[in-house]
């Protein structure tokens, strides 16, 4: 079967909306409902966060959701169990995002097999560096039709960006600023130069911009410079409430897509 992320980027070139949430938060068994709600409300791509005890590249919101998720009893085994039948209802591409150690303990090969079995289309593993990925893991990811998404930041040098572009197989995750997630500075204030520089590089891969995208305005602005954007912390905050997911998810997404 064709990888769903490839299909998405072939059919949609702009305003792609990707949403991240931490699996197991706010409640242990919310995972499937959140995914279904996100799809129904028009999200194009979902990043399912695998919680880790030490999320060094994340800000307070995702740190907290990870901590609560783990306290709730989330594990990679359980997450795969929850997602077992996800493809019976959900068609959009799904990505697993998280730190390497839980995947490493699960067994990278076994992890990739599980992803293929369930219908996961890609991974984002920030602390798996490009060199190590290519040296040890690339063949097994390819074998299971899994894209490993790589990141670039404002500090990434041009030659490194070229290297990452060459090694990327579907899209590049553009970190909007030098920051951990949810840093919440306004995108347009200081990134235009960086966005324009990347835009003019004619990379072979499409790009999504993430980190610091929190509302309609920042989403719309990011979409001017890339094929779409990724919302994480702001969404995690929005569903951290007493309001039912069937109300909080549509509320957040509608607000995002109409107030740009």
């Amino acid at each position: 079967m064709k990888n769903r992320i490839n299909s998405l980027f072939e059919s949609k070139k702009e305003n792609i909306l990707s949403v991240y949430f931490t699996a197991g938060f706010p409640n242990l068994n919310d995972t499937v409902e959140i995914i279904q709600q996100l799809e129904i409300n028009g999200v194009d791509l979902i990043e399912i966060g695998m919680p880790f005890s030490d999320p060094t590249a994340d800000g307070p919101t995702i740190q907290r959701s990870s901590e609560i998720s783990l306290k709730n009893g989330m594990s990679l085994e359980l997450l795969f169990e929850q997602l077992k039948n996800i493809r019976q209802t959900v068609k959009i591409p799904l990505i697993l995002m998280g730190y390497l150690n839980p995947v490493y303990q699960f067994g990278v090969e076994r992890f990739c097999e599980k992803c293929a079995e369930i219908g996961i289309d890609g991974t984002i593993l920030p602390d798996l560096p490009l060199d190590e990925f290519e040296q040890y893991y690339k063949p097994v990811f390819e074998k299971h039709n899994l894209h490993n998404i790589l990141l670039i930041t404002p500090q990434t040098t041009e030659s490194r960006i070229r290297q990452i572009d060459a090694a990327s197989s579907v899209f590049i995750y553009m970190v909007s600023s030098s920051s951990t997630t949810g840093a919440g500075k306004k995108v347009e204030d200081f990134q235009r130069g960086y966005f324009e520089r990347i835009q003019s590089m004619n990379l072979k891969n499409p790009r999504l911009i993430g980190f610091g995208i929190s509302d309609g305005a920042t989403f719309e602005n990011a979409c001017k410079y890339a094929n779409g954007a990724i919302i994480g912390s702001a969404f995690v905050k929005a569903i951290d409430s007493e309001i039912k997911l069937e109300e909080s998810v549509p509320g957040f997404i509608k607000n995002l897509l109409t107030t740009g």
Binding site: D127, P129, S178
Partner: protein, 393 residues
């Protein structure tokens, strides 16, 4: 040298730089420049000068006669506790502050457990007039308050970290986040032989002055530069790395690291990573870790804040795996009594961390003719409250 880091940053299967892309530029710069900088004549002169006149090196190698008599074997103490700021930590921070200057950095961050590395960092930042921010677990802030006050007096900002177990691991997470958010002007002075390559090698080199001195001091005092064994406590493992470094290839010298068993290695309250851990990836290095089957890091426990870390430097993971060094563990109680014993036999109050190495003397076989060197990595000044409370003075 056989046990030294390879060009990719690995010690055997351990080490590497498992960093998120956000840290790539800084780590790449360090990786490409650190050796050139620290091996330059200018750097060496400056470093040696500060070690001598500011840190107070060489630190004495002291023959502990009453301790030796008790154990029936020759015991020498490498007095790192007599360094300025009271521990071996300053060796590394002096080196790294000079490096930070060469890299053109104007702001320094650090993590700290017991506060010894925090104080050592705040000290060199005061010396070089560089802005300093120290991350410290909120629990450690509470249990090491004299060091917190010292750092503040030295002009550093101390940020209490409330995530996780509120100890060293969490402080390290927060320091890494700071670096990700401030990639241009900031140098991160990691306090131990942990973290991504080149840190483990860089910190080991700065601390290697310890074993360099032990060699010539032993030669002077005993006629041979080779002891039977060297003992040092291990959390992340910087003082042990420094004490082992120049003996790594001298396979006749037994190397013994002593981890913090906490309330016992068979309890959940321990920090003995090599005894209870397994390979994994934390703080950008592949090393031995305390973790559960899902790969979540387990909260460590030790009475000594400086050893309260769920990982260990990749060099030690490799020395353990290859059998070049042996690692033991000492419980809180054994450590407290070992500290009291040294205090009353030799008139030296050791740090709780260093007392782990002393506690190991009861666990190993020593022959009468053996020369045993213990790295007394720090002074007990910061632990007086714990000692006084436990022994009821």
């Amino acid at each position: 040298m056989k046990y030294i880091v390879n060009e990719k940053g690995y010690y055997g299967e351990f080490g590497g730089a498992w960093i998120p892309e956000m840290m790539y530029t800084n780590i790449d710069e360090l990786k490409h420049r650190y050796l050139k900088i620290i091996e330059s004549e200018e750097f060496k002169n400056e470093f040696d000068h500060l070690l001598k006149d500011y840190v107070g090196r060489p630190s004495p190698l002291y023959f502990a006669s009453r301790l030796s008599e008790h154990y029936g074997s020759k015991i020498y103490l490498k007095r790192e506790d007599l360094n300025h700021t009271g521990s071996h930590k300053l060796n590394n921070t002096v080196g790294q502050i000079l490096l930070a200057q060469k890299l053109g950095k104007t702001r320094v961050i650090a993590e700290t457990g017991a506060g010894q590395h925090g104080v050592a960092t705040a000290t060199v930042c005061a010396l070089k007039n560089i802005k300093c921010v120290v991350y410290m677990g909120a629990l450690d802030v509470a249990r090491q308050s004299p060091n917190v006050k010292k750092m503040k007096m030295l002009g550093a900002e101390v940020v209490p970290v409330h995530s996780g177990n509120k100890t060293l691991k969490d402080a390290t997470n927060e320091a890494m986040r700071d670096w990700i958010n401030n990639p241009e002007d900031t140098h991160y002075i990691i306090g131990s032989v942990v973290g991504p390559h080149p840190y483990p090698d860089m910190v080991a080199r700065f601390q290697s002055v310890i074993s360099e001195e032990i060699k010539w001091q032993l030669k002077e005092q005993t006629g041979s530069e080779f002891p039977a064994r060297v003992l040092a406590c291990v959390g992340g493992g910087s003082n042990a790395a420094g004490a082992f470094y120049h003996f790594l290839d001298d396979e006749q010298v037994e190397l013994i690291g002593v981890e913090a068993a906490g309330k016992g290695v068979d309890t959940s309250e321990t920090a003995a990573t090599l005894t209870v851990g397994s390979p994994g990836i934390l703080h950008a290095a592949k090393t031995m870790l305390m973790q559960n089957t899902d790969g979540q890091i387990t909260e460590p426990y030790s009475i000594s804040a400086g050893l309260d870390y769920p990982g260990i430097g990749p060099l030690h993971a490799h020395l353990f795996k290859s059998g070049r060094a042996k690692y033991l563990a000492a419980t809180d109680e054994e450590v407290l009594y070992a500290a009291l014993f040294l205090t009353q036999k030799e008139g030296i109050i050791p740090a709780l961390e260093s007392a782990h190495a002393l506690a190991a003397l009861d666990k190993i076989k020593m022959n009468p003719g053996d020369v045993n060197v213990i790295n007394l990595s720090g002074s007990g000044n910061k632990d007086m409250e714990t000692y006084l409370e436990y022994f009821g003075y």
